[in-house]
Amino acid sequence: MTAASPVAAAPRVQTPLKRFVVEFLDSRVAVLGLALLVLIVSSALFAPLIAPQDPYDLSKLDIMNGMLPPGSADMDGNVFWLGSDEQGRDLMSAILYGLRTSLLVGFSSTAVALAIGLVVGMIAAYAGGSLDAAIMRLVDIQLSFPAILIALILLAVLGKGVDKVIIALTAVQWAYYARTVRSAALVERRKEYVEAAQCLALPKQRIVLRHLLPNCLPPLIVVATVQVAHAITLEATLSFLGVGVPVTEPSLGMLIASGFSYMLSGEFWVSLFPGLALLVTIVSINLVGDQMRDVLNPRLQH
C-alpha cells in the first residue's frame, strides 16, 4: 500500500510508482484511453501546426466555400475532410482549435481549483478547531448545491469569456478538493511518522510540505482526473446554454450548439463531428480516471 510505508525519502517512492504504472497498464481499455488522451492533447497543443486552416483568421475564409460536405474540395483543391460551416471554415481546423479551448478550460480550472483546495484543505486539517469547522461548513454548503446551477449564475453575472468560464469552474470545483485533502490529511496526521516528525520539532511547513502533502496526492489525482472531464462537459453545457465562451472563440460545446440548427436540414457534420470529438475526449479521460482509481484505491487493492 502506497501510504503505509513511506516514512522514508525519495528513492523508495519509485517502488509504488512503478507498481502504479504496472497495475495501470494491466487494463487494456485504460491503456487505449490513455493513448487516445495523449493523441487528443497533443493534437490540441499542436493545432496551429496540424490544422489546414486558421479558423479565426476571417480573411482566409470565403463564404462561397460554406456548407461543403465532408471530403469535398474548394476551387483551389483544398480538401475539407470533415466539411465546412456556413462561413467556409474548415471543420477539422475548427474542432482542433475548439479542442484547445475546451482542454484549456478543463485543465486550467481543475489545476487552479486543485491548488486552492489543497491549501484550504491542508489549513483545515492542520489548524483544526473552529477554523476547520468554518471551512468545512462552507465546503458542505457549497457541495449541497449542484455545480451547474452555481456556474450558471456566476457566468450570468460575470459575462462571457474563456477566463470567466475558468473562474466559474474553479469556483464550483475547489470544494471537492478541499474536502478530499482534509480527510486524507487527517488520516495521515494521526500516523506515527508525523507524530515522530512533530516530536523532532520539525517546522510545521516542513511537515506539511514534505510529509503530509505527498501522501495526500493519490486520492487527489483520482478526483482531479474525473473532474477534468466534468469541467469540460460543464463548459460545453454552459456554452450551449449561452453563458459560456464567446462565439468568436468556440469551444467544442459552442461548435455543437451552433451547428445543431443545421442537423435537421441534413447538414449533420457541423454538429456531429464536434460532438464526437467531445465524446471521445471525455470517454478517454474517464477511462484513465477509472483505472487510476482502481489502482490507487487502497480498499480495492487488498
Binding site: L58, S59, L61, D62, I63, M64, G66, M67, E86, Q87, G159, K160, G242, P246, V247, T248, F260, S261, Y262, M263, L264, S265, G266, E267
Partner: protein, 532 residues
C-alpha cells in the same frame, strides 16, 4: 386565481369532450411568446400578435400594411389637426356589452397607466391632444400639430372594454385621466379582463406552455374558420420544425432558413414567404473618436465619406443573401424595402471590391486599418453569421476585421454606451413607411422631436432633418411620399448607414392550409384558411 382555474378547467373539459380530432382546431408553433396578455403592457411583436386575436384596434393593416377599417368604419380629416372617426355599430364585446366611443377614450386613458410596463404604447397616443365624443359612434380627435401618422398609430393598440374595467365615466385629459384605479396586467392574464371585440376569446393561458383561444361566435366581421386555436411557444428552431413535421402543430412561424429548402420539397408541407419591413444594416460611428478602430493614429476614418462608400461597396450582398441567408432575403440599397410607402425606387447598391480599395487609398488608408464589428447573436436571423461574412469581405480590402458577438442582454447596453465603431443592427418599420427608419436611425438626435433615438452613429445632416420634419407634418399622402423618398436618397448618398438586406419572413404549414404572408411578421390565426 380562482377565475383562472375555472377558465382552465373549462378549457380542459373542452379538450376532453372535443377530443383531439376536432377538425376546426388550429395549432400554431411560435418562435417567441408574449410576455403578458394585457394588450397595453408590452409593445412587442408576440404580444401584439396575440392581442390582435382578442382585442381589435380602431384601424387595422392588411398583409401589405395598407390601412383598412376595423372598429372604425371610416375616417376623414376635418382640418390638418382634426380627425373624425365613425365607429362601427352593433359590435359586441365578448361579455355581450356594446362597443362605443367611451371604450376608445378609456383605452387611451389607460395606456399611460399600466404599472411596471417595460415598453408602453404612450408612443402612439401622445399625438392625441383632445378627444370629443359627439355621439357614441363618433370620435373627434385633435392633435397639437398636423399629424398624418395618426390613423397608422391607431392600428397599434387594442381597445379594451371600459365597462368591464369600471371606466364608464373616465374622460380624456391630455395631462392624465382620472380614475380610482386602473386594471392590472394580472387581470388580463387570468382572463377576467381579457374581454375584447376580436374574432377569438381567451380560453386558457399557461405561460411557457400554451395560449388557447375559442372562436367568438358573435364576431361582427368574417368569422374565422377555427373553433379553437392553440399557440405553443417552441423557441428552439430545430424542435419547432420537428413539431411541424411530426404533426404536433399545423403551422410554425420563423422556420429556420437552413430548413426551408427541405420544407419546400416536402410534399406534406407548404411554405409561404414575403419581404418583411425589416432592414439589416451596419451602423458606422461618425464621432470624432471611435473605440474599436486601430491603426489610424486615433483618427476616425469613418468620418470620411469615401471610407464609408468603400465599406458599402466592399460587401457582396448577393453572396451573403445566397450563402448565409439561403436565398431568403433581398439585398438592400435603402432603409426599407422598395414598394413600401416613402421608399425611393432609384436607389441601387453596387459591389466592387477593387473600387473600394481605391477609395480607401484616396482617403489616405491604402493599407486599411483594424476594425471590430459588434453584433448581437440572438436577435436577427443569422445576425452573427452575417457579421462574420462582412468581416471576411472587409478583410479582403485591407480592413482587418474581427467580430465581437454578444447576446442581446449585453449587446444593447454596450451599443448604447457607444462601445462599437461599427455594429450590426436591424430595424422593423412598424408603421410600414419610410418615416420610421429615417426618424429613428438617421435623423439627428433631438429629444423634443423624438428624432434619432436609435441613431448611435452621430450622423447628422440638416437637409435630411428638414425634409423629414416637413414630411411628418404633411397630411397629403402624395406630397409626404415624395419628401420621404428625397430624405431616403440623402441618407443613402451620405452612407449614413450601410444597408445589407431586407429580411424575408416565412411560415411553414401542413399542406392544405394557406396563409397570406404578412410584411409585419404577425401570425394571425384568423387569416389561416384551409384549402377546400
Amino acid at each position: 386565481m380562482k377565475q383562472q382555474l375555472s377558465i382552465l378547467a373549462g378549457a380542459f373539459a373542452a379538450v376532453l369532450l372535443g377530443g383531439q380530432v376536432s377538425a376546426a382546431e388550429l395549432r400554431i408553433g411560435t418562435a417567441a411568446e408574449p410576455s403578458a396578455l394585457d394588450p397595453h403592457y408590452h409593445n412587442l411583436t408576440p404580444n401584439n400578435t396575440v392581442r390582435r386575436h382578442i382585442f381589435e384596434s380602431l384601424v387595422d393593416q392588411d398583409a401589405k400594411q395598407r390601412l383598412i377599417p376595423a372598429l372604425a368604419e371610416s375616417w376623414r380629416t376635418i382640418d390638418d389637426k382634426t380627425w373624425e372617426f365613425k365607429l362601427r355599430k352593433g359590435v359586441k364585446f365578448h361579455d355581450g356589452t356594446e362597443f362605443t366611443a367611451q371604450d376608445f377614450v378609456y383605452t387611451v386613458c389607460r395606456i399611460p397607466n399600466v404599472a411596471n410596463s417595460p415598453s408602453s404604447f404612450t408612443l402612439y397616443t401622445k399625438g392625441i391632444d383632445s378627444i370629443e365624443v359627439p355621439d357614441p359612434h363618433t370620435l373627434i380627435i385633435r392633435t397639437a400639430a398636423p399629424y398624418p401618422l395618426l390613423p397608422v398609430e391607431l392600428t397599434t393598440f387594442g381597445i379594451i372594454s371600459a365597462k368591464a374595467a369600471g371606466g364608464e365615466t373616465v374622460t380624456f385629459d391630455k395631462a392624465g385621466c382620472k380614475a380610482d384605479s386602473w386594471p392590472s396586467t394580472q387581470a388580463f392574464n387570468d382572463g377576467s379582463l381579457a374581454i375584447g371585440t376580436g374574432p377569438f376569446k381567451l380560453a386558457a393561458y399557461r405561460k411557457g406552455e400554451r395560449i388557447v383561444l375559442d372562436r367568438n361566435p358573435d364576431y361582427w366581421g368574417e368569422k374565422p374558420e377555427w373553433d379553437k386555436v392553440t399557440f405553443r411557444p417552441i423557441t428552439s428552431e430545430g424542435p419547432r420544425v420537428a413539431a411541424l413535421l411530426a404533426g404536433d402543430v399545423d403551422l410554425v412561424d420563423e422556420p429556420p432558413l437552413q430548413d426551408l429548402e427541405r420544407l419546400r420539397k416536402d410534399p406534406k408541407i407548404s411554405v409561404v414567404e414575403t419581404l418583411s419591413n425589416r432592414i439589416i444594416y451596419l451602423a458606422l460611428d461618425q464621432a470624432e473618436k471611435t473605440p474599436t478602430i486601430k491603426g489610424t493614429d486615433d483618427r476616425n476614418p469613418l468620418r470620411d465619406i469615401r471610407v464609408r462608400q468603400a465599406m458599402s461597396m466592399a460587401i457582396d450582398r448577393e453572396a451573403i443573401v445566397k450563402r448565409i441567408m439561403n436565398d431568403t432575403a433581398e439585398p438592400a440599397a435603402q432603409l426599407l424595402a422598395p414598394g413600401l410607402f416613402g421608399t425611393n425606387p432609384d436607389l441601387k447598391f453596387s459591389y466592387d471590391a477593387k473600387r473600394a480599395k481605391e477609395l480607401l487609398a484616396e482617403a489616405g488608408y491604402p493599407n486599411g486599418f483594424e476594425l471590430t464589428i459588434g453584433t448581437p447573436n440572438d436577435r436577427y436571423i443569422n445576425d452573427e453569421k452575417i457579421a462574420q461574412a462582412v468581416a471576411q469581405m472587409y478583410s479582403r480590402i485591407g480592413i482587418k476585421t474581427q467580430v465581437d458577438a454578444a447576446t442581446v442582454n449585453v449587446f444593447f447596453s454596450r451599443r448604447n454606451k457607444g462601445e462599437f465603431s461599427v455594429f450590426l443592427g436591424g430595424w422593423s418599420a412598424a408603421t410600414g413607411e419610410a418615416s420610421s427608419p429615417l426618424k429613428s436611425l438617421v435623423a439627428t438626435r433631438i429629444k423634443e422631436k423624438g428624432f434619432g433615438p436609435t441613431n448611435y452613429t452621430g450622423y447628422s445632416n440638416p437637409k435630411l432633418d428638414d425634409l423629414l420634419t416637413k414630411a411628418l407634418a404633411t397630411v397629403d399622402d402624395k406630397e409626404r411620399e415624395k419628401l420621404l423618398a428625397e430624405a431616403m436618397k440623402t441618407a443613402v448618398d451620405d452612407v449614413a448607414l450601410v444597408p445589407l438586406h431586407y429580411e424575408v419572413t416565412s411560415w411553414a404549414m401542413r399542406k392544405g392550409l394557406s396563409y397570406e404572408p404578412r410584411a409585419d411578421q404577425y401570425t394571425l390565426a384568423y387569416a389561416v384558411r384551409s384549402a377546400k
